[in-house]
Symmetry: C2
């Protein structure tokens, strides 16, 4: 039986809107955009594969949200303002309910950040979502991984570890009470790209990255690119698992070691880890308030390479957690 709608109808029905910021949007061989005078274009691509990045039965609206969110998170990490994105989609079949849900979740997040869908591709194949996102920022102001200096403070936005907790609970390798699973699942399925914080940190942060593979692994990219090491305070880090009342709830079902492990090496958090000089503490707080994003200072960069986890009693913890590798 032929599909109820064809490729061009599918694009027209679910993925086409008139261009607003872009010079030319969906419907020609290329889209056209024109960055402002003196602006640089920041570009990032992420590919999401069924069974690897999401469960086959995930709500399509949350998948639409997440597919764009993980890309916007890369723009956040370099301090860029979103302009637009392309969407390439391989679908095993045309399922109009799925497409309606997926596009609803996608548009909702795109509209929240004024990020237009400007082009893409649709084909038949195992479910695969590839988004390339474009943002702009003033020349020379991008937050890079390589800019951290010795003695910089290290900060993290929001909370860490819940996304991985939800993943383990959904896979059945960990038991979580229903309210905590619901909370964590929200973090796994609908991450919040920290765009306002990233933009507010331009000119303040010395280096930044978004946490997709786990804090220690991603912070390790900053340290490697900057030629530094760091010390993190475990007593501060462990409280990043959750804020306020939820904090105690998680502590009641997880051991101290588990809590710390999820915070340090959970992954899929899409919070920002960033460095800033001691002198910028007030500016970092002002950026956090301006962007309505909580940030926590968790450590400091050091000349000695390697990452040291300092406990409240002053001794160092041996870290066994590893960063996520898609081919490991």
């Amino acid at each position: 039986m032929p599909n109820p709608i064809g490729e061009f109808d599918l694009i027209a029905r679910y993925f086409t809107r008139p261009a607003r910021q872009a010079v030319l949007g969906v419907g020609d061989d290329c889209a056209l955009i024109q960055p402002g005078v003196g602006m640089q274009l920041a570009i990032s691509s992420d590919m999401l594969v069924e069974g690897r990045h999401f469960f086959p039965d995930v709500d399509p609206a949350t998948l639409g949200h997440k597919a764009l969110a993980v890309n916007l998170s890369d723009l956040a990490a370099c301090g860029a303002t979103p302009l637009g994105f392309t969407l390439a989609l391989a679908l095993p079949r045309v399922d109009t309910d799925w497409l309606a849900g997926f596009s609803r979740g996608l548009w909702a997040l795109a509209d929240l950040h004024g990020c237009e869908l400007i082009g893409g591709d649709t084909t038949c194949g195992p479910l695969n979502i590839c988004i390339t996102v474009f943002g702009e920022l003033p020349q020379g102001q991008a937050l890079l991984r390589s800019g951290a200096k010795v003695g910089d403070d290290i900060y993290v936005s929001g909370t860490l570890g819940q996304a991985r907790l939800a993943l383990d609970a959904l896979r059945g390798t960990l038991a979580l009470p229903a309210p905590l699973l619901a909370l964590s699942r929200q973090r796994l399925e609908q991450p919040t790209p920290r765009l306002a914080l990233g933009q507010a940190l331009r000119g303040i942060a010395s280096a930044a990255i978004d946490i997709s593979d786990g804090l220690t692994g991603d912070l390790g990219h900053i340290l490697k690119a900057s030629g530094l090491g760091a010390s993190l305070e475990t007593a501060v880090a462990i409280d990043l698992l959750a804020h306020d009342a939820d904090r105690a709830a998680f502590a009641s079902v997880l051991s101290t070691a588990q809590q710390l492990d999820y915070v340090l090496a959970g992954g899929d958090d899409y919070e920002l880890a960033f460095c800033a000089p001691f002198q910028a503490r007030a500016a970092v707080q002002a950026a956090a308030e301006k962007s309505h994003t909580p940030v926590t200072r968790i450590g400091r960069t050091q000349a000695q390479t390697g990452l040291r986890l300092q406990q409240a009693n002053g001794t160092f913890l041996t870290q066994k957690s590893k960063s996520f590798d898609h081919f490991a």
Copy 2:
């Protein structure tokens, strides 16, 4: 057994080179590019899926070439000069021989056109190649699908139909003598993006598109976007199957109807179809010569919508060919 190399090693080994034109290339959260003053950025994405866009046993070097070529072809169709591209790759496993071949084919074409790999993503999953390409062109000079006017000449670059002939021969639905299969297979597996022609046609062509789904289907997009119809001369079109000595060889194994069908509705050609006013004939020829690309005038746009195929005796052929639809 763990893979011999991990995700980050894989990117470093096969897909990282120092940035040349780009402000920042592979290795941070985003790549950074800065179009020249007054330049617009042209962007296009194409996704290639194993079994749909290429045979599982295709030579990885030709696949690397083709994956970039089909994207560059979109830049050619709007007259843009390539700047860079992102590559998102889902691989079922880390096969270093495959990666070496794929990246070799990719780099060779990229270097030919000064198009840098500036970022991307690598993950585990059914083989899927998604490239997003970036080019620049002076503000307002993009060749669009919507600019054709009544009475414009219609042109096609190069030859059409051999890629589809090779596909049918490889699938076993058509017999081709070995020399003709080798010739056609080259067109299927290593298409030539017509970048020099596209750039030379800026300010001359009124509309352009690249032929990926077949001439009549893709020309149909120009006609629809421009609110026009057209008449094509079948006696001219049929000679587009091959040039010079090869022309007779194909004619000796294919019926007239077959030859015309492959030319008009073959697909995967990656030639340009474009329109230009009568007054621009000398300019079109000059652009063809400057870009060392043969072009053939095959018809004319008309106010009456629909596509008419005019035979040498003046009568019209009823066209049954359809454009390619990935979900049909």
